[in-house]
């Protein structure tokens, strides 16, 4: 079938020759993909990888899958076939996919060295995102959503009401990342929040925080195009490049108590956002890291946390419940459909996905949020 696939280090291209997926386990579902967003991790895999993908000549350590494999993990689609034990969806249903593999998938991979092994502690305790076998559909475990079809077990399938257009539905995955993070932070309705960075993750965080009822949202961002984008979502924007070392004091002053924010979310992951995420908090405030950091440490003063009993945590990935809750939030209007649409800055066929998707994002990072690709199974591109 047609797919935009990862072949080897530094080589991602369109192909007609990815094997069409088949149902091999009774609880699997085949989806005809509608849309699949390009994620920062996809670019990262090309620029600095392989990170999640197998190394050239190797098979995936979890599923034993071999390259090439279709990329793409932010997908929506329509169910086209279901295994005999599938109860959650039927053919024709609109769905999204929780792309995180875990112990719950080991029964689908007879060639895995972990085939049918017993669930890890994290999975047993319902934190599948922290599974010791964690991996992602579309990032090496199995072929992903930049393709005509995808197969996953029903556990990973979340039905989506038909009132939510399938292009908007492709945003449910990145929204689930930030939904999970906001839950991990212990966010309480009515709290004030600071979001550091208005890239794709920062903007998704804003949508979630609006949906969960933040009383005040301030976004700190320096890039003009992103500042504009954040303003369109109706939040207050602060540009620290205009205030230098006074930034933290001014930020704290923007809150009702003038004492700082209840919660902060670091969606940038650089030293200055790390510091600001802690120092701009009020006492007992919580800083949550959502950004992916490299191996270089940042300088940290334990008393910055201790003296005001602040909390620092971080969030990674999501669980199925996050997807279900985001679907409900979009459906009931807590997350505004119009806000979601603002995040889609491009739509392309998978045939053009490398040049007009990956390369466009690498060349014009700041003028894009999400570019969605489609195999055009259902005339998505008209």
């Amino acid at each position: 079938m047609r797919a935009l696939a990862y072949f080897k280090k530094g080589d991602i291209h369109f192909t007609n020759d990815i094997p069409r997926p088949e149902i091999q386990t009774d609880d699997e579902v085949i989806i005809d993909v509608s849309w699949c967003g390009i994620c920062g991790s996809d670019l990262h895999e090309y620029l600095d990888g392989p990170i999640f993908m197998p190394k050239d000549g190797e098979c995936h350590k979890l599923s034993n899958a071999a390259l090439p494999l279709a990329m793409g993990h932010e997908m929506s689609g329509i169910v086209s076939k279901v295994g005999p034990k599938v109860t959650k969806v039927k053919v024709g249903d609109h769905v999204v996919v929780d792309a995180a593999s875990s112990c719950a998938d080991l029964h689908c991979w007879p060639h895995s060295k972990f085939y049918n092994s017993k669930p890890c502690d994290a999975c047993q305790r319902g934190s599948e995102n922290l599974c010791t076998h964690a991996g992602f559909v579309g990032l090496g475990v199995i072929s992903g959503g930049f393709a005509e079809q995808v197969v996953v077990s029903q556990h990973h399938i979340i039905p989506v009401p038909k009132e939510i257009p399938l292009d908007v539905a492709a945003l449910i995955e990145p929204l689930s990342v930030t939904w999970h993070a906001v839950k991990i932070s212990g966010f309480k309705k009515g709290s004030s929040v600071l979001v550091l960075g208005a890239g794709p993750i920062g903007l998704c965080t804003i949508l979630v925080l609006k949906g969960m009822g933040a009383s005040k949202i301030v976004v700190s961002e320096v890039a003009e195009r992103r500042i504009e984008m954040a303003k369109k979502l109706g939040v207050e924007v602060f540009n620290p490049s205009k205030h230098g070392h006074k930034s933290i004091e001014i930020l704290r002053g923007l809150t009702k108590s003038h004492d700082g924010f209840d919660y902060s979310y670091d969606c940038s992951g650089i030293q200055v956002t790390f510091e600001t995420s802690l120092k701009a908090l009020t006492f007992r405030g919580t800083a949550t890291n959502i950004a992916v950091w490299g191996p270089k440490p940042v300088p940290f003063q334990p008393m910055d946390v201790t003296l005001q009993e602040k909390v620092m945590t971080g969030s990674i990935g999501y669980v199925v419940e996050d997807f279900e809750e985001v679907v409900r939030a979009i459906h009931n209007g807590d997350i505004a459909m119009e806000d979601c649409k603002q995040l889609i800055t491009g739509k392309q066929r998978i045939e053009d996905g490398w040049e007009k998707g990956f390369q466009e994002l690498m060349d014009h990072k700041e003028s894009n949020v999400k570019i969605l690709l489609t195999p055009n199974n259902h005339g998505e591109m008209k």
Copy 2:
């Protein structure tokens, strides 16, 4: 009256000339001191101060008190006089003192520039330990417990049942520091814990964790005398100096899941304990700093928190409820009286407090935990 007092930078000595306290506000209480422990902060004030104390020639920025001032903030005693509006205790009651000053005390200091000003945000929200006007009785705000008498408003007075001996009662203050920290960490009964350091704060943390029902307590300590002390409290001791870079792996393996601890408490405050406090945790575990750190930053990898959604926080001081809860825990046996007695490694008169107290602790840090001083008002030294 007699007192061991702070006179100026580097000068702490016994004197007969500290003015006897008087009741000047209707809700104040005068206590005849029984016992008062010497704290690490007292030594710190001498060695590196002034930290909390006024600078030479200055008055205290909060209370406007002038030097010399009696030191000592870990005190027990007997009520000897009460102001007309005191309802909480009567003459003859055994009590301990919450030594942390806050907005709740501003009405007692007519010479303060903050006299009768409105409570800060933290005090309004019940976090008096995070008060913007925070200070300590016996550390410069007013004269403390290394003296015949102390005066404080009833808000700071906690009655102690007569079944708890007054020497053990002098430990309620440091126990309240760690009680507060264990509460801040969100500790849940039955959890596994790692305590880093078996100095006075580490040992108090152990007593509190035993009292709150930890299922497993491991203490990491390198000093032989402290290791012995921790063993007497019936907990498992790990000596990282014998295991080098394998320490974290071994520590994690000591837990039931072999995956690390639910909670860790850093009672040392050095780079290696900081790292261990995070890395020896299981996923979603919480590291709490109780140590006081200098201004030098430690290297920190945000992914060490993020990849397993760990939590890092810190605790400072206490509130009145912590004292009340520690009193109850000792009274009902959750904190064992015998364990408390183990922590008292010396008893001296305030007249000898400098040489046999402060100097003894500076010269023989590891063979001491708590040295208590007494003005011998009630024949405490027989």
